[in-house]
Subunit: 132 residues, 2 copies
């Protein structure tokens, strides 16, 4: 399984740089707009293509918001979950050993195999709770 490395283009570089600075989950559209604001003229389609590829390569994490939009965020390696602020979008990674174990056990009890789970916490972060 030889995964071929994508070419280094100024667009791809720009997206990577942006993701390194923005540590919250953002839609592709928002990211595209942010790129435009900092002077990088990139086609929206390219942003989508780039993000999809990065997601496939697990270089970014994705999330579906309640509107069905896909949110992207640069992420550390390994399996983890998120605690996302519904107001400002700030996200923290959290590990959840307890949940991992529970998921496996529950699935096994019901005879399920090839288990995969989704666990996301959302709420108002400290700052947004204060400035309500």
């Amino acid at each position: 399984m030889t995964t071929k490395t994508p070419r280094t283009t100024k667009q791809r570089t720009a997206v990577l740089e942006l993701l390194n600075e923005v540590n919250e989950f953002r839609t592709a559209q928002t990211l595209h707009q942010l790129l435009a604001e900092r002077g990088d003229t990139i086609g929206l389609a390219t942003v989508y293509r780039t993000l999809s590829r990065m997601a496939a390569a697990e270089e970014v994490d994705t999330l579906l918001n309640s509107d069905g939009e896909t949110l992207y965020r640069r992420c550390s390696d390994g399996h983890h979950h998120h605690l996302v602020c519904v107001n400002c979008g700030k996200a923290e990674e959290i590990s959840a050993r307890a949940v991992e174990i529970w998921a496996q056990e529950t699935a096994a009890e019901h005879g399920f195999t090839d288990i995969h789970h989704t666990v996301e916490l959302a709420g108002r972060c400290r700052d947004c709770s204060a400035s309500r």
Copy 2:
């Protein structure tokens, strides 16, 4: 807050009946097609409107699949989670006290308030695992 009861129309009745028989998560489009197959001619838009309303009234549960489509399913009351088969769509409700507690604690530790969580397990059910 007075929630007004929707009128009883043959369309609404048909959707309700169908949901009572189909106990798996299905897309609005699929449900619409199922209605057509059993002879109920209902506009797709009406199916969407009805399902949205039922979802708002918590008469059905909704789920977003990885394609961004909304899945609907008749559901028991109260807070619970699902164990869904990725192959046949069969879903079982599971309660997860352990997860509820973990969610609250984790959120509190990070200073988050108004917490709400999403926990879904997916995999292959016993039958689908066997007939692979």
